[in-house]
């Protein structure tokens, strides 16, 4: 390198370093609102919930004392809590299974060209856009024990005879069916959109090559589509599972955990005990009970997703 070249290179390098510093600074500034949001609205309440679960805090008081794991021991001894724990798993896994299966069917259907496709896409997205309280009020009437539209229709077509009636929200099993139905209806659009994006991102050439090699629809699904969609599928499932595990809105608006506390999930039970009942310590213990499991699940699924990306 000549002297002239060195002389020319030096300001350029220092300008590069300065630009890099400014990039970092800009990056920090742009990231700051998101980090502040996560810290203030996620981390702080979460840590507060962990702290409260170890205290005898009540809703009407700002004073409390440390009680160790007493709240956790108390809730584990409660049949209502054990039922809610079971329901949480049923609610999450059944609804996520249905969402994935139905979402896949819908996404595949939406990949095909047909008349009115735009309208169908709009209608499919509607449940995602509708406010959940408003939508659930509609479902409340659909499943109403006295005025259920479903029952009246079943009566008209002769499915239900005299004296026969489905008490959707008055029966523990039918109550869970109703809750899962509404939740699947609500989550389906999001899952469909994600799966549709995944399906359309697979290059056509790969499928064409598989066709030439004589691969059937099943082997194409299991050897091409699913492996190539694994990262996006994992994110969709992870989001759905975490969202469902921690959601109380459908349960609370539809059954309020009834009949006799048989359809509670942990989140709705935590609200009932912690906010309505005023036992904040107990409510916090119920609310964070599944956090270790959720963290573990998230770590495992993100690892699977990353590995699939590398492959």
């Amino acid at each position: 390198m000549t002297t002239t070249e060195i002389a020319l290179a030096t300001p350029s390098r220092s300008r590069g370093a300065s630009l890099s510093r400014r990039d970092i600074r800009l990056g920090e500034i742009l990231l700051a609102p998101a980090l502040a949001y996560i810290f203030l609205l996620v981390a702080v309440p979460f840590l507060l919930a962990v702290f409260l679960s170890l205290t005898n805090s009540s809703a009407g008081s700002l004073q409390f004392s440390f009680v160790g794991l007493q709240n956790f021991r108390a809730v584990l001894g409660s049949p209502v809590f054990r039922r809610a724990l079971w329901n949480t798993f049923v609610f999450t896994f059944v609804s996520q299974f249905l969402v994935m299966v139905l979402g896949n069917i819908l996404a595949r259907a939406l990949m095909k060209p047909f008349r009115g496709k735009l309208l169908v896409r709009f209608l499919i997205l509607l449940p995602w856009a509708a406010p959940i309280s408003l939508a659930t009020l509609g479902w409340l009437w659909i499943f109403d024990s006295t005025f259920s539209v479903i029952n009246w229709m079943l009566k008209v077509v002769g499915w239900l005879g005299p004296g026969q009636w489905y008490y959707w929200l008055g029966d523990p099993v039918l109550g869970m069916v109703a809750i899962i139905t509404v939740h699947v209806w609500r989550m389906l659009p999001f899952s469909t959109v994600i799966l549709l994006a995944g399906l359309t991102s697979i290059p056509k050439e790969i499928h064409e090559a598989a066709d030439i090699d004589g691969a059937g629809p099943l082997s194409k699904t299991f050897q091409i589509t699913i492996p190539m969609m694994l990262p996006i599928l994992t994110v969709a499932i992870l989001f759905g599972v975490v969202f469902t595990f921690t959601d109380m809105s459908v349960v609370y608006l539809l059954t309020r955990g009834g009949p006799y506390n048989s359809t509670h999930v942990l989140a709705s039970l935590a609200f009932q005990d912690g906010v309505l009942g005023g036992d904040v310590g107990r409510g916090a213990a119920e609310a964070i009970f599944l956090v270790p499991l959720l963290v573990l699940m998230a770590v495992v699924m993100l690892r699977i997703s990353r590995r699939a990306e590398v492959v």
């Binding site: 009540s58 008081s61 700002l62 008055g170 506390n261 906010v275």
Partner: protein
């Protein structure tokens, strides 16, 4: 010329400055305004009879305007009253006056002692009705944690034609009448889905209905001293009764009811008997529903030993938060609200009953005659309903509701433990599990009793509830 990066950096700075100004701005303005005028913020439920809110809001503002106080009234649905209080206590800010429609006792630590206000009103109007006193005063801590201006009776609502057709034209008198009537109702009105509509679900009305059954069979959650006595032969009898009633006269529909469901079922003529205040009846009147001509009322039903009790349907409990900066104005406001008891009762179309009967007395009545005079005025309204009942004395039984009405926590005082048991549906669940056979009466009782004892023990540790030495 700016680069894109410079533009973004400048923009970020501007946003930051703007956000800081926005957050500081209202504080500055409010402080400025607050220094000039007094303010009073009232949180009020959305009344079950909407006409009441149309009276209350302008009345409160007018009251404030005459005293240079800017009164703001916010309404929330009845289910949000407690969560909202929880949030305001946690934030230590919000409204000055907060109205509870049930028990405010859990918030005792954060409210101003209203002993002075209650005392002044007592001097002016005589004692409040006993159930209001028992719902707003904690004898253990000796604190008047809330003030009640009104309470609401909870009679039985029956379908006149159906009950006439089964030979009981004046409606049921005892709980046993419901069991006897249910099969007959099915015969004469097979179109009715739920012959007898006593709620057993996780809602406010069911919570009251099951307590009525419990009390009328001689059982209760606590005794007068605050000992947990749910585990008793009387409670078992009440549970066995509920099981019988459910098997002959009810369906799973009653397990899913919300606060409006029994009204809707009765107004749609899908049931022949419910327990409710007159709000459902006023709705039927407003909408001229076909059920109206057969909409009649009976007093609380009697249990096997003749005990006749019903929980109040609503008990107002106004509290003034300790964090309020307008405590004196708030106290004045509560006195004025009690002063307006006549207007309040009429605005609510006879839904609200004054907690201080003396406040409804004729002007100029001697102090020792005020309660009597107020009771006479209340009876006059009920005996000739100014809101179009046919016949005019349809609501006359409400004027005699006081002897059979009681407070949550009967036979003791209301307390935070009773409140938590109420809000977490321990008693309704016990009845529902028994009625449906999900648990035997004994097992359901054991489960509920253990939970009640846990809750009472917790509040006793906090020094807010008495008793414990005679827990069963």
């Amino acid at each position: 010329m700016q680069s894109r990066r410079q533009f973004i950096l400048k923009g970020a700075k501007l946003v930051a400055v703007g956000a800081a100004a926005a957050s500081a701005g209202p504080t500055v303005f409010v402080r400025g305004a607050g220094a000039a005028d007094k303010q009073l913020k009232v949180l009020q439920w959305a009344h079950f009879v909407p006409a009441y809110d149309k009276w209350f809001d302008p009345w409160a503002k007018d009251w404030g305007a005459k005293r240079g106080v800017e009164v703001t009234v916010d309404h929330v649905g009845f289910a949000d009253v407690v969560p909202r209080a929880t949030a305001e206590v946690a934030a230590q800010s919000g409204h000055d006056v907060h109205m509870f429609i049930g028990l405010a006792s859990a918030f005792e630590e954060h409210v101003v002692d209203l002993k002075e206000v209650a005392g002044a009103l007592e001097k002016k109007y005589g004692k409040p009705v006993e159930l209001a006193h028992r719902s707003t005063y904690n004898p253990f801590t000796k604190k008047q944690f809330a003030l009640s201006d009104m309470w609401v009776p909870d009679p039985g609502n029956y379908h006149k034609k159906v009950w006439t057709d089964i030979g009981i034209p004046n409606g049921p008198v005892t709980y046993e009448d419901l069991v006897k009537a249910a099969p007959e109702v099915k015969k004469v009105a097979p179109q009715m889905q739920i012959p007898i509509g006593v709620g057993l679900s996780q809602d406010i009305d069911s919570n009251m209905a099951v307590r009525n059954i419990l009390w009328c069979h001689g059982g209760s959650i606590q005794d007068k001293e605050g000992n947990v006595v749910l585990n008793s032969p009387e409670t078992l009898k009440a549970l066995e009764y509920a099981k019988r009633l459910y098997s002959v006269g009810m369906t799973q529909a009653v397990l899913s009811w919300n606060a409006a469901s029994n009204n809707q079922a009765f107004n749609a003529q899908e049931t022949s008997y419910i327990l409710n205040s007159i709000s459902a009846y006023r709705t039927a009147q407003d909408n001229k529903l076909p059920v109206l001509e057969n909409y009649f009322f009976v007093p609380a039903l009697k249990g096997p030993t003749g005990i006749q009790l019903a929980s109040e349907h609503v008990m107002s409990g106004y509290v003034v938060w300790k964090f309020s900066k307008s405590q004196d104005v708030a106290k004045e406001f509560l006195v004025a609200l009690v002063d307006a008891s006549r207007e309040s009762m009429l605005a609510s179309k006879l839904y609200n009953f004054p907690s201080f009967y003396g406040a409804a007395a004729d002007p100029g009545t001697a102090m020792n005659k005020k309660s009597e005079s107020g009771a006479a005025w209340i009876a006059k309204q009920c005996n000739a309903d100014p809101f179009g009942s046919q016949p005019g004395d349809k609501l006359s039984l409400l004027a005699k509701a006081l002897p059979w009405s009681t407070n949550l926590g009967y036979p003791g005082f209301a307390n935070p433990a009773e409140g938590e048991i109420f809000d977490t549906y321990v008693i309704t669940d016990m009845f529902a599990k028994t009625a449906t056979g999900a648990l035997s009466p004994k097992d359901a009782l054991t489960e509920a009793s253990n939970r009640c004892k846990e809750i009472f023990a917790k509040w006793r540790k906090k020094g807010m509830v008495a008793g414990g030495s005679k827990d069963r």
